[in-house]
């Protein structure tokens, strides 16, 4: 089991009633982006539908995933998380895309 650090955008921190980073535990071999998001939504059910669409589990269009200065937004959910995220050296950042006014 691995504890992954997750940074949520302000609106989702408010919604989940958390401050700062959150830690999410994911299982050994299933250390993928999809598994992380599943675990995050299980820990904070209010985030269901806010990061990924209900049903399809597609990333919402104006949500981005960054880690270790890389944009992981377009990686399929089966993509393993970067080693630095799994080792706890880097957080997995969920970001509201810069858009609008």
């Amino acid at each position: 089991m691995t504890d992954v650090r997750v940074v949520l955008p302000t609106h989702l921190r408010t919604l989940a009633q958390v401050t700062g980073e959150v830690k999410v535990t994911i299982g050994g071999p299933d250390s993928t982006q999809g598994a992380l998001l599943d675990a995050l939504e299980a820990a904070y059910p209010v985030l269901r539908g806010a990061i990924r669409e209900h049903g399809t589990l597609r990333r919402r269009p104006f949500v981005r995933f960054f880690a270790g200065e890389a944009d992981l937004s377009h990686d399929p959910p089966t993509t393993p998380l970067p080693p630095a995220v799994l080792a706890g050296r880097e957080p997995f950042c969920i970001v509201g895309a810069m858009a609008g006014g």
Binding site: T10, G49, A50, E53
Partner: protein, 371 residues
């Protein structure tokens, strides 16, 4: 009556304005859900402490918030609005088929008798119902599937179901309105629906008298006369005397019959209010004068009401859900603007005063008259 609670939805949060029965000194609370769009908040007629709010952003989607203590605290409830069965298609702006896609909840209408029952009008247009206080939502798919759905097209603001009128005589009877499909009515709790647009005429659609395709902006009626329904259409103010089966125009002497809001005095079923807007491409009052118009004859004859409203340089809009009335003995009329003002009249529209000046753009105004 002890006072009023005004629920204001804006582009950047919700505000709650409260006052005693005199409605002179106001307490302003908010923003609640700061930074989110609050398309609509509404209280249960059966339990004034039960409030529902539609909270959304393009970034993080839809949330429904519920309060059980009159707005002092809130908790998120269910936010999954899954279309029932085959999703199907409607027409896109270019006339091509486009799959129904949920975008947001425009309007929440709590049941008249059960605080746990609430209806949601959504974009892309559909009607949902919750019977567990908003925890879960089921589509009343007979509306979207009644036959004309594939021909519906969005208006400029999206294809939204924005008005839900519940019938105080019979919980199975409802009228809803969709931009830009028109009005629809059901007499069997939403299983089957009938287009309710006979008598509407719209420029800008191929058949101006079509069964569907009209851009209805808002509907209103008085609970004592449910068969009399008033409509602010894209252009034209309309009236039905037979429960929306047929309509006739009552724009009369209005300076422009374009607008978004329409509402009815709490104690005078023939007294109605609109806010004329210059045109469909100029969404502001004529000549920068913000004016409410009142008819005491159920339409046709209108009088200008401007005492206390801006006389010049006012170029705001008043959106479709941004007018409400209280049920105090001296009926209060309220409306909010895209400039962030919320105005009140405590004498049925003769004189107006701002409650607040500088909120974010106001999307909706509802008022509860508290016991």
């Amino acid at each position: 009556m002890s006072g009023v609670r005004v629920l204001v939805g804006t582009r950047k949060g919700a505000f709650i304005l409260t006052a005693d029965g005199k409605r002179r000194d106001w307490k302003v609370e908010g923003p609640l859900f700061g930074g989110w769009e609050l398309y609509h908040l509404k209280g249960s007629p059966a339990d004034p402490d039960r409030l529902y709010a539609s909270q959304s952003t393009a970034w993080f989607g839809q949330q429904i918030q519920r309060s059980d203590d009159g707005g002092r605290s809130w908790k998120p409830v269910g936010n999954e609005f899954a279309y029932d069965g085959e999703t199907g298609t409607h027409q896109w702006y270019d006339g091509t088929p486009h799959p129904w896609e949920f975008a947001r909840v425009w309007h929440l209408e709590p049941s008249l008798s059960d605080p746990d029952v609430v209806y949601a009008g959504v974009e892309d247009a559909a009607l949902f119902r919750s019977s567990d206080g908003g925890q879960t939502w089921q589509e009343l798919s007979g509306l979207r599937g009644h036959g004309s759905g594939p021909h519906w097209q969005p208006g400029a603001g999206g294809m939204c179901l924005h008005t839900i009128l519940l019938d105080p005589r019979d919980a199975e009877r409802m009228i809803v309105a969709i931009s830009a499909a028109g009005a629809f009515r059901t007499e069997d709790a939403g299983k089957t629906w009938t287009p309710a647009n006979v008598g509407l005429h719209s420029e800008g659609i191929p058949d101006g008298d079509a069964e569907v395709g009209h851009c209805v902006h808002h509907l209103a009626r008085h609970p004592s006369r449910p068969d009399v329904v008033y409509m602010q259409k894209h252009w034209d103010v309309m009236r039905s005397d037979d429960g929306a089966q047929t309509w006739r125009e009552v724009s009369g002497n209005l300076p422009t019959d374009f607008g978004f809001v329409i509402d009815v005095h709490a104690h005078e079923p023939d007294t109605i209010y609109v806010v004329p807007i210059k045109s469909d491409s100029e969404h502001y009052p004529i000549d920068g004068h913000l004016r409410v118009y009142r008819s005491r004859t159920g339409g046709d004859d209108w009088e200008e009401l401007g005492d206390g409203l801006p006389e010049r340089d006012c170029y705001v809009n008043v959106l479709r859900d941004a007018m409400a009335v209280d049920t105090m003995d001296d009926c209060g009329i309220y409306f909010g603007t895209t400039g962030g003002q919320v105005y009140v009249s405590t004498d049925a529209g003769d004189r107006w005063a701002p409650i607040v000046h500088d909120l974010p753009a106001v999307l909706s105004v509802e008022v509860q008259t508290l016991p």
